[in-house]
Symmetry: D2
Subunit: 384 residues, 4 copies
C-alpha cells in the first residue's frame, strides 16, 4: 500500500533533501537522524513505513532534482556521494513534478476555481495512476506575505462562489494549493508561515471532505530553542524582561524573507510562542536578515534579560548554527507519515496534536516543546 | 505554627540572601521572583507560609549577618537599601547561629558521635526554645571532595558503631550534619554536591526516624539550561555529539571549587544529566574556573555539536550570566516549604519528586526539567 | 589657569558621569581607568590637568546634577557613595547650566541668528565671569536625524545671511550649538553622530575664528571592537564576506535611537569603518534596538563570516556588554584636555589626529584603532 | 631559480593543504585568500614566486599525499574537485618525502649526531638533485612537550660534543630537525610551539652558518584575535581584569594537545601575549580540549572582564570558528617566501620581524598584531 507525498515547491532545497534523504534511509545509506517518528515512541503507531512513500509535486522551477541535489552536495547539505547513489529515485520523483502556479491571479476571463481544478487534476492523476492509498500534500514553497481577512474567507459557500468570479484573486497561492489538496481529499500540511489552510472556509472544507490538516511554519531553529528555554524560565518563576533575536539566513529562504512583506509572516509566526509560554508580553525585537554568504545555513542569536530574586538582573544568550534544509527535511517525512496515518484513522480538520512541529500551531496555544512532545507521543499511542 | 529553617553555612552568601529575602518578601518590599512555590500551581498544597519560617543555623564564621548583607549590597546581590530595612530580621536570625564544626575529625579520645550530639543539641534547643512545629535542616556550606565508599556507610548499625570509635573520622562534615539532622527528627536537604545524606546508612536512619530528605546540588545555571535543552535535542532525534562547558565562578564558591578535589564533586554532579537524558555518552569536558573578578556572579559557556539529517554537522552555544546567591536563595525557601509540608504529611526517606531542584536528584534518573516540573506539580497537588 | 568645559546636554547621563568622575579623580577617590590621556604617552604633551577643568553647559532638563548622580548610582554607573562625596562639585557645575534650545526653529519673526546669540552670550558669560583661559564646547546631547544638504550650508557668507532670515530653520540644533561655540572662539567637539560642525560653512567659521574642532560620534563599543578586528582580517588577507551587528541599548540613548530617523544617523556613522578598512563593501546589516530593561547598559552582538585559504568558510562572533556613560565619560575628559591644548597651540579647523576617539572621524579615512592611536600619540608628542 | 620547501610533517593536514593549495594558486584555480605576501605591500620585496617553490619533507606516516588530500576533501578543508585537479603535484611532492625520526632517542651505541646526519643527507640530496638555489625547512609536525633546560643546550660546542655521546638524547625531535636544517645551511621555521631552534646552541649554529630562522607557533585563531583586541583595551586605558579561554580542537592536533605534556607547550605559548601587551598579569585560565567531532575545525571561546571609568565592570566575549589547516597553510607559504628572501639577502639568526606570524615570537616582546604587521611591511620594503 503506497502513500503519495505531494510537495508544493517540489524542486526546492527542502523537497530535494526530503527525496534524497528518504531514498538514503530506505537504502540504509544513512541513519534516521532528525526523524522523530523513527523513535521507539512511534513504533506501534501504525505509521506507513518510509518504503511506502512515493514523491511528486508542483513547482515553478524546471531544474531537475538530480541537478538540485548536486547543488546541495556542493553546499554541504547532502553528503558526497549520496546524490549519485540515489540518482534513480531523484529522477523518478522528478518525473512526477508538474508546473505550479506562478501567480494566483487568474488571467482575464479565467477563474481561480479553474486554476485550482488544474492543481486538483495533477494530484488525482498522481494518486490514480500510481494506485496510491492516499496522498499527503505538504507546502514547502516560499513564504508569502500575510493576507488581509476577506468576507470570501469566512465560509465555504462564500468562498466557492468567489472562486467562480472571473478575474478575482480570492486566495493567495498557498491557500489555492490547500484548497486543491483538501478538495482532492488529501491531508494537507502548512510547512511555512503562509496562509495555506488557515482560513475558516478551508477548515470547513477539510471537515466536509473528512481530511486532516496541520501547520504552520515548521520550527527548526531559533523558535525551537525558544520553546525549550522559555518554559524553564517560567517553571523557575524567573521574570523574563526582554528577548531579542537576530536571524541571519542565506539561500533562497533568506532572500525571500528579506522582503519585508514576506518577512512579516515569519516574524508574526516567530513571536507567537513567548507571550503564550510566559503569560505576558516581553520587550525585544526579532530581526530576519539575508546574508547570502551563509548559503543553506542559518545563524540565530538570541539575547534574554531576566530578573531573579530581589530584582537582580541576569542575562542569557545563545547562538544556533544550523542547516535549514537538513533540519526541515526529516520533519517533512515525520509529518507525512503521521498525517497519513491520522487520515487513515478518520481524523478530520485541524490536528492540534502535531503542534510539536510548528512555530504557530493551529488550534492550540501550547508552545512548550516538551509538553508538545508528550502530547504527540500520547496521540501516536492512540493511533495504534 | 512556626517552622524552623536551620541553615548549615548560615553566614554564607546564600544563607544571608535567604534571610534578607524572606524578610523582604514578608514585608512586601520585593515580589517573589524566582520562588517556584509562589506560583498558582502550589497555592493549594498546604505549604507553610513564609511568615511561618524562623531561621537559625551553624557556621564556622563569626561575621554577623547584617555585615554580610552589607557586603552583598556592595556586590549588587541585595539591592540597596534593603539590608537596612531588614536589619532586625538579620539580627534575629544571627542570634540563632551556633558554631559549626571546622573539622569532622575528632580530637584524640573524642568520637564523631559526640561531635554529632553537640549539633543535635543545637538543633533541638532551637526547636524547643522557639516552640517550632518542626525544623528543616538545609546544607548550604562549601562543597566537599567526594568521599570513598566505606563499610561503615553501608547500614545504620555499622555506622552507629563506627561513630563511637574514638578518633575515627567515619563521616565527612556534610554527612555528620545530615546524621545530626535526621537523628533530631528533622527533614534534611543537600543543597550542595557534598555527600550529605547520600549514604545507605543515612537513608536507613531517615526512614527509621520517619523524616524526608532530598538533594543534591541545586541546579541554578548551566545544568538548569542543559536539562532544558538536551530533551529538545532528544525529542527531535538530533544526535548530540559533543557538549563542552566552561564555568567561570567568582566569590567563595569559585575559590572552593578551584580546588580540584572539591571541584570533582561538582563536576560529577554536573555531568550526570546528559547521558541520562540523551541515552548515550557524549564527548566534551566541563571546566570550573575561579575568576575572582566576577564576584558573586558566574558565567557559563556551553558549546554543543550535533548531527542532523544525513549527518550534517551543526552547533549551538549559550552563555549564562547569573548571580549565584540570587538564583539559589529562592530555591532554599521553596525546598524548606515543600519538605516541611512533606514531613507534616508523613513522608519519609528520599523525596524524588523534588528532583526538579537538583543537578543530581536522589532516587530518580529523570533530569528533563519540564518533566521534573510536571512531577513536582502533581506531587504538590497530592500534598493538599 | 582654568579651562572651561561647556557640555551641551549637561544634565544627561554622560555629562553627569563626567562631572562626578572628574571630581572623583581630583579627590583621589578613583583611578583614571578609561582615561587615555592619563597614560605616559601623554605625560609631556602639556595638557591641562583635571584640576584646571571647570564645568558648565546647556540643557533643556531642569533635574539638578546631584539628583541625576543619585539615579546613576542606583543604575550602577556611579559607585556608591561617590555621588555624596562629590555633591559639592555637582552643585557647582549645576549652577553653571543654562537652558538649552528645545527647538531650533525660531518663533515667528525671530531668527536663528538671535537664538545663536543667546547661546554665545551664555558661553562668553561663563568664560568671562570665571576668568577662564579658554572654553571647550562638547556636544553630548541626544542624536538628531541626518540633515539634508542645503545651499546655506555651503559657505560662511550664505550661512550668515540665511541665519538672519526671520523664521528660517537653517541649522539643526547641534549645528546651531556648533555655530555658537565657534563664533564664541571656543574649540568644539561633536561627541554624537549629529551634524554639529560637519558643514562647509562651519569649517570655514572655525578656520576664520582660528579654533579647532573634532568629531564625530565617540566610538565606545561595537565600532571600537570592529576597528580593532577588521584590520586583523585585512592584515591576514582573510576575506570578510559578511558582518552583521545587533545593538541592544537601554536608557535614553536607546529610546532616541529607536526612532528610525535618529537611528539612521547612528547607523551611517557605524557603517563607515568597515569598507574603509577592508577596501570593499561587505554584506550585513546593523540593527539598533531599544531594550529598556538594559538601563544604562548596552549589548552588541556581531557576527562575521569570512573565507580563508581555498575558499573555506569560517566565522567569528563577539558580544560586548558595556556601560555607555562609563565608556563615554573618560573620553570627554580626554577630548577636552587635548583640544584645549591644541587650541592653545594655535591649531585651527578639523583635527583629524583625534580620529582615534570617533566612529566617523572628520577629515580622514583612517579607522584602524591601533594606527589611530599611533597617530594620536605622535601628535601629542608634537604638542609638547 | 627554484626554492625548496622542506616540510617536517610533510604528510600532515597542514602540509597537504600547503602542497595542494600552492598547486591550485599556480594553476589559477583559487585566489590567494589568506596569503599575506600576495598583498601589494609585498609586491616589490623580491620574494620568490609560488612557481619557484618545490616541496619535499620528512614524515613518519606513509599515507601518500593524494590520499590525504581526499581525506581533507571529505572533511571540507580542500574543496571538491581540487584534489583531483592537482593530483600530479601531490604525487610529485609525495615522491620527495623521506621517513622522519619516530623517536629522537638513539638506539644503543648510536648517537643523535648520526640521526641528525641522516636528516641532513635527505635535505642536501633534495637540494642537490633538484638543483635548488636554497631550501627552507618548516616544522609543521605534532607539538612536543616543553624541554627542560640542559647544559648541553647552552652553546654550540657543548651541544656538538653531547650529540656525539652514544645513546644520549640531548635534543627533542623538533630540535634535532632544526639542528639538521641549520647544519645543512637551510633557513628554518618553527611553525609549532615545540622547542625547535629555540636553544642558545642552535641560535649560535644559525649565526655560524649564516642562515635565518624564525618562530614559533603560528598564530591562527584565538591568539590572533587576542593580539588584535588586547591592544584596544590598552590604548583605551580600560583595565582588563580576567581573560579566560576555552579551545575546542578536533583532528590530530586536538588529540595531541589533549595530552597534558604537549598541551603545556601550547598553553605557555598562548599565554605569552596578554601580559606583554597589557603590562600586567591577568587572571584566567586557557583550556585546550579535544573534541573529535569537530574534525579539522576548532572553536575558541574567550571571555574577558574589564573595568571602566569609576570601576564599572564590563565584559566581552568572542567565539572563533576556524579551519585549522586552512588558516595555517597560507602562512607556511608566506613564511617560506619571506625567509627564503631573507636568506638570499644575507640575514642570519633569529628574524624578529616575522613575529607577526607567531604566538611566541622569537627575539621580541611585541605582540600587537597591527604593530607586528607594520614592522613586517617595513622590513619587506627593505628586502627590495
Amino acid at each position: 500500500m503506497k502513500i503519495g507525498v505531494w510537495l508544493v515547491g517540489a524542486r526546492g532545497s527542502v523537497a530535494t533533501t526530503v527525496v534524497a534523504g528518504a531514498a538514503a534511509l530506505r537504502a540504509g545509506l544513512a541513519a534516521p537522524v532528525g526523524c522523530v517518528t523513527a523513535g521507539t515512541d512511534f513504533a506501534r503507531a501504525g505509521l506507513p513505513p518510509l518504503d511506502a512513500l512515493v514523491f511528486g509535486g508542483h513547482d515553478i522551477s524546471s531544474t531537475p532534482l538530480p541537478k538540485r541535489a548536486e547543488e546541495l552536495t556542493r553546499a554541504g547539505v547532502i553528503p558526497s556521494p549520496l546524490a549519485d547513489l540515489v540518482r534513480h529515485e531523484l529522477e523518478t520523483a522528478d518525473a512526477e513534478i508538474r508546473p505550479g502556479i506562478t501567480d494566483a491571479v487568474p488571467r482575464e476571463g479565467q477563474t481561480q476555481a479553474a486554476l485550482a481544478q488544474a492543481l486538483i487534476d495533477d494530484i488525482t492523476d498522481f494518486r490514480d495512476r500510481l494506485g496510491l492509498a492516499r496522498v499527503v500534500v505538504i507546502h514547502v514553497a516560499s513564504t508569502e506575505p500575510p493576507v488581509a481577512p476577506a468576507p470570501a474567507h469566512r465560509n465555504l459557500e462564500t468562498l466557492t462562489e468567489a472562486l467562480e468570479t472571473p478575474g478575482a484573486a480570492v486566495l493567495p497561492p498557498s491557500s489555492l494549493y490547500a484548497y486543491a489538496a483538501l478538495s482532492a481529499g488529501c491531508a494537507y500540511i502548512d510547512f511555512t508561515p503562509s496562509t495555506g489552510a488557515w482560513l475558516p472556509a478551508l477548515d470547513e472544507l477539510a471537515n466536509a471532505r473528512a481530511v486532516p490538516y496541520a501547520g504552520r511554519d515548521a520550527k527548526t531553529g531559533e523558535t525551537l530553542v525558544k520553546t525549550a528555554l522559555a518554559p524553564m524560565f517560567a517553571a523557575r518563576a524567573l521574570a523574563v524582561r526582554s528577548w531579542s533575536g537576530t536571524n541571519l539566513l542565506g539561500g533562497g529562504d533568506g532572500a525571500t524573507l528579506a522582503d519585508p512583506a514576506a518577512g512579516e509572516s515569519k516574524k508574526i509566526s516567530k513571536e507567537r510562542a513567548l507571550p503564550a509560554i510566559l503569560g505576558h508580553a516581553v520587550e525585544g525585537q526579532t530581526h530576519i536578515d539575508h546574508v547570502a554568504h551563509l548559503g543553506d545555513w542559518k545563524t540565530a542569536w538570541d539575547h534574554i534579560t531576566f530578573e531573579g530574586f530581589l530584582g537582580v538582573r541576569m542575562s542569557m544568550q545563545f547562538t544556533w548554527q544550523g542547516c535549514d534544509s537538513a533540519l526541515a527535511a526529516p520533519l517533512v517525512l515525520d509529518l507525512a507519515r503521521l498525517i497519513a496515518r491520522a487520515h487513515e484513522r478518520g481524523r478530520a480538520g485541524a490536528v492540534e496534536e502535531l503542534g510539536f512541529f510548528f512555530k504557530d500551531p493551529l488550534a492550540t496555544d501550547e508552545h512548550r516543546v516538551q509538553v508538545q512532545y508528550d502530547l504527540l507521543r500520547a496521540w501516536a499511542g492512540n493511533l495504534a
